[in-house]
Point group: C2
Chain length 547, copies 2
């Protein structure tokens, strides 16, 4: 009995594909989902029953039948161009009052009540309420039924007139309504969703409020989100996170290009072991052993040897690390730059200072809506930073910790906990979430880091912190072949595997320095999101290679 | 005897590194190079002899000794910040006449004549002539000697006064000179270069002229260039090529962001076989079989399923193909976009039309200098394109060929030669180097391509050509799960390996389309450079994985 229903409904979709296997596959999928999610399955069953009913009702001749229904796939295969004007949901405002509009969006919510149906349509995180009430020659009973049984997340085209109701409209982003004239389903969602958008979009505050009211909401776990990432990404907060991320890269490039940098694209496939170390993905390249670049470090420096003067790159970075932390990924987006320095590595810090203030100012000015959307679900304190960024030496950091009773090895790297603590101490003393720590001990930096002129135990290097977590690492590089070879050997690196890199320095090279930033970390820490998987579109960690 | 000389000279460099092994390594390297390049070796020997002499001369007390010499590495390790002002070679013009300037650049050429030395300094492809003539309290004999034995490609700091000689200065880009007051060597190049910049920068016209004059220049082969890419990249043409490339990406992004696109970063590490086919690099991902994305195709479409509406990406694309052609690489930079379409795949073509006209206009307006530099070495006809791009169907293409006496299978893809021929026919008939061919036979397009509504033997797809070569491929995509599964199966693709992708379409998706462009191809074809290795910074082909 139930199977028959599925057949009938799915059958409508399949008409033009004359496929039997596909229907079976579709059914299998639905069955599997029901098993996995019994609550949703029950809902889905009820939904199917209503759809059956709607289909049956449509059999009765309806003079308004042309005003609603499912659009056949063939029509969507670029059958024709009508020249009709489309309006975005985000553009719907009171200025459009009385005008006819055509929107395409998702069924965010739908309910019917007597002769009325309320359909909330969502597009890119923005929502608008659309209304249909049965009226002769306008909305038929059958049309109302059609609307009321639409599956959530389906794509619909709605035509109608914009109206402005008195008072605020609760629960939608747009403060106008659409009086429906026509509704068509463009793409049908499965009735049973692995997660609902309402659940996925709730904040901690929502949960608290509900609990006080004796209600309990379903929590959507990280893995469920990531397994169904294309659904999870549809929440207003996620829509905003990736718009913010897109802006960060834009600001990064905009600023650097205004400072005379050029954008390079360095190879990700490399002979040898990249920068050395164990955390490298290896592969066979036409019979040669190869690896994936752990950063554009070597090639961006070779860009300096090639006279490009100031270079940057935005691209993927691969780390085969086994780190299961909130801040590590096996693949992330690196923002890298490298530049000639005339005299001092402070020239690089001067640049990064201006660069990041430009990015932060840009986000605060141009992403207000997005930051607000993120704040709605994941409340955070705005980032504190100054027009001129605080610079402390590593030793001054050690001293600050000591004053607070925390004794650390002055020649060893801080652990994450110590970094957090130092971030707090700096914030208390200097009122900033963003600062530079420089002059690190040489032994804890990569082989290509330039030692200090006055004390070879230290190096011309720096890290930059946001909210007590490292986001940027940089330094002056060793440009002298002999010292470079010596340092690589001291660090236990096989210099023959680096010969292409080292040879680049034999034909004259300007002193230079640079830095690398993780894009996902910048967004995570600017918005205090707590987990880098929230700011990676399709995250890759030691256990996740899909979707 | 010869070895001793090497020791003495290299010894100066090594002072602060107290390394014996490094010197030996350096010597080995020089010896090896001599073997490889006997002509250069002889030159290098003479150079060494002169340097010895200069070193000996310096022993004699010179009251002007502070005005020249090699800067110790320690000083270059960020020893101090002087606050001095630096001028770029490209900024040197007549307005600076009489002013003291400080520049850093490479020794491009050097010669001495009696009491005069001429030093041409090059920075980012721009050159300026610097003069020193012996005069009491200004330039000593020893200083002149020091200048005259500087190795080409070494980095030097020059301080002096800008002067404007009467008449044109032949052989340098800047039309002013610097009267040298101080010269320091910052980084010394090996005396023997695997290729000279003069040779690497010569045009075919230079060769022809020389031949007529009975001279013969050395030709620098492609492999020598690529093996020594950091040297090769220093030519004015190469400096310009990668500045043009940087602009192409900028224009691409600028335009798309103004059209409401957002930039995504999709994973390059994927489970399964990406889009299928043999040309995929595989690797082990923490015990799971993985591969490198052959394009962002699947994930950018998933970005559409995730409601981002209009997305683009600039990133590396990996193809394990065995193609040894002038237009294939194993790794290149993909410019990809994907967008919701309301009704027709022409919406994508409309966008690409405006996008590429924007890019071409931008290059012609903002890269005049760069295009001129490329033209100097590799002369090319400016690209012919119209404000509205010509669109022909594949069938019309077949017809054009037929009219010209070329009979091709109307359901098979054109080969490179036929494409070239068609490009010529189109140019003759429509006066354009840039056009769109659309409505390709379905069987020669990927499984995710939407069939035509009116004839399923054809598809809603297109290629775009510059000078008769394909640079863009795009289409409306199949957004319907059943049809998608059917098409993948028909194309022999294991749908289980695509489950993450296919599942993304189960929860409603807007009709959409997009395209992919190869950045290196755009630059190669805009400038008619004839080989994609010229427009890839560090090219990767089936036999090249380094540098």
């Amino acid at each position: 009995m139930e199977d028959e229903k599925v057949n009938t409904v799915a059958g409508e979709e399949v008409k033009m594909q004359d496929g039997g296997n596909e229907v079976k596959e579709e059914k299998k999928k639905e069955k599997k989902e029901k098993k996995e999610n019994p609550k949703n399955a029950k809902k889905a069953e009820r939904q199917l029953a209503r759809q059956m009913e709607a289909a049956a009702v449509k059999e009765v001749d309806d003079p308004l039948a042309a005003n609603y229904g499912e659009i056949e796939l063939q029509t969507l295969q670029s059958a024709a161009q009508s020249g009709r004007k489309w309006t975005k949901v985000s553009q719907l405002d009171q200025e459009l009052k009385g005008q006819a509009v055509l929107v395409r969006g998702r069924v965010h919510a739908v309910r019917s009540k007597g002769k009325m149906a309320f359909l909330v349509v969502r597009e890119s995180g923005y929502t608008v309420q659309c209304l249909a009430s049965v009226a002769e020659n306008v909305i038929s009973k059958q049309m109302l039924k059609f609307i009321s049984v639409l599956n959530k997340e389906s794509i619909v085209d709605v035509e109608g007139e914009v109206s402005v109701p008195p008072g605020e409209i609760a629960g939608t982003s747009q403060q106008v309504e659409i009086q429906i004239r026509k509704v068509y389903c463009v793409s049908k969602s499965l009735a049973s969703l692995p997660l609902t958008l309402e659940d996925a979009a709730r904040s901690e505050l929502d949960f608290e409020k509900a609990e006080k009211g004796g209600k309990q909401y379903a929590r959507v776990g990280q893995d469920t989100r990531l397994n169904n990432r294309v659904l999870d990404l549809r929440t207003p907060a996620n829509q905003a996170i990736f718009r913010v991320q897109s802006h960060v890269s834009m600001f990064f490039r905009e600023f650097l290009i205004s400072e005379d940098f050029i954008e390079l694209h360095t190879p990700k496939l490399m002979a040898g072991a990249s920068e050395g170390g164990a955390s490298v993905f290896t592969l066979d390249y036409k019979g040669q052993p190869a690896c994936l670049a752990q950063s554009p470090q070597l090639h961006k420096q070779m860009g300096i040897c090639a006279d490009f003067g100031r270079v940057f790159e935005i691209g993927p970075v691969f780390r085969a690390e086994n780190s299961f932390t909130h801040r590590h990924l096996c693949e992330f987006t690196g923002l890298d730059l490298e530049m000639e320095i005339k005299e001092h590595y402070f020239e690089v810090i001067d640049l990064l200072d201006k660069l990041f203030v430009y990015i932060f100012d840009g986000l605060n000015e141009k992403c207000k809506k997005e930051l607000e959307a993120i704040n709605q679900q994941y409340p955070f304190e705005p980032l504190k930073y100054h027009k001129e960024t605080l610079r402390l030496t590593f030793d001054e950091g050690v001293q600050l910790l000591k004053e607070a009773g925390i004794i650390v090895d002055p020649m060893a790297d801080f652990n994450t906990e110590t970094e957090k603590k130092l971030g707090q101490l700096v914030k208390d003393k200097y009122d900033t979430d963003f600062y530079v720590l420089h002059r690190y001990p040489l032994t804890i930096r990569p082989f290509y880091t330039m030692p200090c002129a006055d004390d070879p135990r230290y190096s011309n290097s720096f890290d930059v912190f946001i909210r007590g977590e490292e986001i940027i690492s940089g330094a002056q590089r060793v440009h002298d072949v002999l010292l470079l070879t010596k340092r690589a050997t001291e660090c236990g690196i096989d210099v023959t595997s680096l010969s292409a890199y080292i040879d680049s320095f034999r034909y004259g090279v300007v002193p230079h320095g640079g830095l690398g930033v993780g894009l996902e970390r910048v967004v995570m820490l600017f918005c205090a999101l707590g987990n880098i998987r929230k700011t990676s579109l399709f995250p890759r960690d030691p256990q996740r290679l899909a979707p």
